[in-house]
């Protein structure tokens, strides 16, 4: 075997895979946001506030039972909002706490406390260790679940507009909107650059070549960003931009919103009270 058949995918393939999965992810989220479900029909501003409230309740809790209850609430909300349960659970428990799972492993053994399980080789899992690990895992998983629900059930431009409820200045929201938009443009540009390079390769480039390629691509993207930002500024000016954004405010609270808001508020207060 010569070096052409490398075991690992090269830098270009891996970057391409990553770029495409990001694009796919945001398209998929958008498709769920268009479904008919509970969270989709709630006012986005209210969803932002209730999500923050729930995150606060999750992160203030000193009780594992309360954390488990809040995770149950996240699952219930997902089911009511037509989010595919398998996808939802998998995304949280396989993908994101993979990191937390590895990090948390030694906690079982190094935290001092009464013994819970004796393993062979004299290794002891302590009660405090198991508790500490559970706290971290459950807290991270529940927090991530709530955040994902918000994003999955709200289309991105509505969500960004709803951030105004946090008293963010309009300019900040405008910048966030433009960033999200141009992330997609730059991702497509990077995708095209890597794809065209990939299709002209006859062997796997060396590490040094790949590094140079990555840097040159980043440099080209930087140049393009400067250029595009200049063009965008000119086009904003030519359309009469005066330094502050104007948006149509389409938000209006319905009866369902009030019920939902009251229910979540009550649940969060109970959770914070129980989890003291």
């Amino acid at each position: 075997m010569n070096k052409v058949h490398s075991r690992r995918a090269g830098f270009i393939e891996r970057t391409l895979i990553e770029i495409n999965s990001t694009l796919e992810q945001s398209v998929f989220a958008e498709s769920i946001a268009r479904r008919d479900g509970l969270l989709q029909s709630i006012d986005a501003r209210l969803k932002v506030l209730t999500t923050l409230l729930l995150l606060l309740a999750i992160n203030l809790s000193h009780s594992l039972a309360v954390l488990a209850g809040l995770y149950g609430l996240a699952l219930l909300l997902a089911i009511l909002s037509a989010v595919p349960a398998g996808f939802f659970i998998k995304r949280v428990w396989l993908f994101i706490p993979f990191f937390t799972g590895i990090v948390v492993l030694p906690v079982f053994f190094i935290t001092p406390g009464p013994a819970l399980v004796h393993l062979p080789l004299g290794v002891v899992i302590t009660q405090t260790g198991a508790q500490a690990a559970l706290f971290l895992l459950l807290r991270v998983a529940t927090s991530v679940s709530m955040a994902i629900l918000l994003v999955l059930c709200t289309s991105w431009n509505t969500l960004l507009k709803a951030l105004g409820v946090l008293r963010l200045p309009g300019v900040v929201i405008l910048i966030l909107e433009m960033t999200y938009r141009y992330i997609h443009l730059l991702l497509h540009t990077a995708n095209d650059m890597f794809l065209s390079r990939q299709s002209r390769l006859i062997r796997r480039p060396s590490g040094a070549e790949e590094r140079r390629m990555a840097a040159a691509n980043a440099g080209v993207l930087l140049g393009k960003s400067l250029q595009v930002s200049h063009d965008v500024y000119l086009s904003m000016q030519s359309r009469g931009f005066r330094g502050y954004p104007r948006t149509l405010d389409r938000f209006r609270l319905q009866k369902l919103d009030l019920w939902y808001g009251a229910a979540i508020l009550a649940l969060a207060i109970v959770a914070i009270w129980l989890g003291r």
């Binding site: 690992r8 830098f11 891996r14 970057t15 770029i19 989220a29 923050l52 995150l55 606060l56 992160n59 994101i96 990191f99 937390t100 590895i102 990090v103 948390v104 030694p106 906690v107 190094i110 935290t111 406390g113 004299g122 290794v123 500490a132 706290f135 991270v140 998983a141 529940t142 991530v144 955040a147 994003v151 910048i175 966030l176 960033t179 999200y180 141009y182 992330i183 443009l185 730059l186 991702l187 590490g207 790949e210 590094r211 140079r212 990555a214 840097a215 040159a216 440099g219 993207l221 930087l222 140049g223 960003s225 400067l226 930002s229 200049h230 965008v232 500024y233 904003m236 000016q237 330094g243």
Partner: protein, 377 residues
């Protein structure tokens, strides 16, 4: 001879530390998810970032305001996309760069910190990368520490170097490496203070479970070996590319008058920043046992084995009761927090004294100028 059963003894301490290292080596993540930091820490981190955001906004106002909106948006998008590049290192490892050092070199640290914060916000909201409550902490590490440190080092080394000099490439690389490693150190501190400050009655840690002695090396060492190397290499290589292909991009900062300013107020600002770092690091002193050398009280002298207490010391030791004895605020019931607050209070008192002193001196100087002006007239 009695039979001794064979038992495998794993040296517990080193093995477990290694495990933690290995865990972080695999992941080397900088984006802190929700659940690792207590809400109190998250709130404090937001407060710490605010002045830097304000500084960035102020800088933006100084320049043409509307022109910067698309510029920031595009640099935030660029930072996001660069974070996706899987850059290979010699030896076969790959990793991601943050692009914070690069943004600081092209835009200046104040505006770069706004752009990176924007990218982090999009990542936290739409891609679940980094927590929402932890957004302040992530912004502090990656959008403040990283660009400011990188930029300071880049400027210090490349000062007066021509635009195409090799010294600039080296400066960019070292800036990127140091910036991200320092950011990792701060993340380690944020993780490490959790078990000290927040635990249940029986000692179970509620948030990130590792103490400072584990969390700091676990964050710093893998970053110094992998992620920071990538950040440095990418920054240096992109700078070299820009030197070859797009020099106007490198001149942007100079044109807006950053460099002219660098000698005066910026240095002072760096000093303030360093002071802030030291304040945040004060609880580290709690890790060391014993009293500071030479600062023993009367009772401690006795316990050190000194046969007698100097009469004068015994008499005078009750004379002055400090308002914050041993840097403790009993009302808080928490030694580390009290330490940080004491340090902040001390710095504030000193700052106010020197500010008043400075006002006085400046008045005198101004008066002198006025006198001289009158003489000229």
């Amino acid at each position: 001879m009695s039979f001794k059963p064979f038992r495998l003894r794993i040296p517990k301490g080193p093995a477990l530390y290694y495990l933690v290292f290995a865990a972080w080596l695999v992941t080397t993540a900088m984006h802190i998810p929700d659940g690792y930091l207590s809400p109190v820490t998250s709130a404090i981190m937001f407060v710490l970032v605010l002045p830097f955001w304000a500084l960035g906004v102020q800088k933006l106002r100084q320049k043409a305001n509307a022109r910067n909106i698309p510029l920031i948006a595009l640099f935030a998008a660029l930072s996001f996309v660069i974070m996706m590049f899987n850059v290979p290192l010699p030896g076969g490892t790959t990793g991601h760069a943050v692009g914070g050092a690069l943004a600081a070199i092209v835009l200046g640290p104040e505006i770069a910190s706004i752009a990176i914060s924007t990218a982090l916000a999009i990542q936290a909201i739409f891609f679940g990368d980094g927590g929402i409550l932890a957004f302040g902490a992530n912004s502090f590490n990656m959008a403040v520490v990283l660009p400011y440190i990188s930029y300071a080092i880049y400027q210090a080394i490349s000062r007066n170097a021509p635009l195409v000099s090799r010294r600039r490439i080296f400066a960019a690389g070292l800036g990127g490496w140091t910036g991200l490693t320092t950011a990792a150190f701060f993340a380690g501190v944020e993780f490490g203070i959790q078990p000290i400050l927040f635990h249940t009655a029986n000692g179970t840690p509620l948030y990130a479970p590792y103490p400072l002695a584990v969390a700091i090396p676990a964050m710093v060492v893998p970053h110094a070996l992998i992620a920071s190397v990538i950040e440095g290499v990418v920054t240096a290589l992109v700078l070299a590319y820009l030197q070859r292909a797009n020099q106007p991009a490198l001149e942007m900062v100079q044109k807006t008058g950053h460099v002219a300013e660098a000698a005066g107020p910026v240095r002072l600002r760096t000093l303030w920043f360093a002071l802030g770092v030291l304040v945040m690091a004060t609880p580290l002193g709690l890790l060391a046992p014993g009293t500071a050398w030479g600062e023993w009280g009367a009772t401690e002298l006795a316990s050190l084995g000194l046969g007698f207490i100097p009469e004068g010391l015994a008499r005078l030791s009750g004379l002055w009761g400090a308002p914050l004895r041993d840097y403790d605020l009993p009302a808080l019931g928490n030694a580390s927090l009290a330490y940080v607050l004491s340090a902040l209070l001390g710095v504030a008192v000193i700052a106010i004294v020197f500010w008043l002193f400075g006002m006085l001196v400046q008045r005198r100087a101004l008066a002198g100028v006025k006198v001289r002006k009158k003489l000229h007239e």
